[in-house]
């Protein structure tokens, strides 16, 4: 039973990887990456049942959380080109605008 589930998950992971590599926009790739992470969590759980060692579920738990945070972090990075404060991210460009003016004075 779990072998069937593992095969279904693996086939879907292959389809998702295909979308991740041929996705035309960055957002397609992000979406495929998020779905791939969800299926990684499922695969870890199913493999734990398949080998009758369900201790891997802790790893699956952590992976589910990291997947969510990673997706949000990547989206924020594309949006603001920085992972910290968005207003702080604007300061270096303004400073770069300042420097030539000070040099001329």
């Amino acid at each position: 039973m779990f072998a069937v589930a593992a095969i279904a998950i693996l086939v879907t992971m292959a389809l998702t990887l295909a979308r991740l590599f041929m996705g035309p926009s960055l957002y397609d790739r992000t979406l495929a990456m998020n779905a791939f992470g969800t299926k990684t969590v499922l695969l870890i759980g199913v493999l734990g049942f398949l080998t009758e060692r369900p201790d891997f579920l802790d790893i699956a738990l952590v992976y589910a959380l990291i997947n969510f945070i990673g997706t949000i972090a990547i989206l924020k990075f594309w949006r603001y080109r920085a992972l910290g404060d968005a207003v702080e991210a604007l300061k270096p460009s303004q400073n770069q605008g300042d420097r030539p003016g000070e040099g001329e004075r």
Binding site: N34, V41, F49, L57, N67, R79, Y80, L90
Partner: protein
């Protein structure tokens, strides 16, 4: 009783696998980013949660069940949130749906001018006031 649990968990896991395959096929075959997001939503919520329910029925009343239920709750909360975040980011960045008309384009222009344009105008104003 054992047979009933086995049949139930078989049903859950098989339907979860079917939804996973449907979602993967949709992720490949659908023509547009927003329609592909619909397929990814099927994978994230229905496929994952049905498969986790099947595993819960197999595990019985142990610590494994608690961990599986925790994973299910996390996925149930976080995956619609991240799908919504991806959709919002794509919409704000100006990615248009394939079937967008003039009216939807004008409404999209209202949406896309909220945070990104304001940040870029702040940048431009700061640069122009300093120069």
């Amino acid at each position: 009783m054992d047979l009933l649990l086995d049949i139930l968990s078989w049903g859950f896991i098989l339907s979860g696998g079917a939804f996973l395959l449907i979602g993967g096929l949709g992720l490949i075959r659908l023509p547009d980013f927003y329609t592909r997001m619909h397929a990814a939503g099927i994978i994230d919520t229905l496929g994952a949660d049905l498969m986790l329910m099947g595993m819960v029925l197999q595990a019985g009343f142990t610590l494994v069940t608690v961990k599986l239920l925790l994973i299910g709750v996390f996925i149930f909360i976080t995956s619609p949130t991240s799908t919504h975040a991806v959709a919002n980011a794509a919409l704000v960045a100006g990615l248009e749906p394939k079937l967008s008309t003039k009216e939807t384009k004008s409404s999209l222009a209202g949406v896309t001018s909220v945070p990104g344009e304001s940040l870029s105008t702040i940048d431009k104003e700061g640069a122009s006031s300093q120069s």
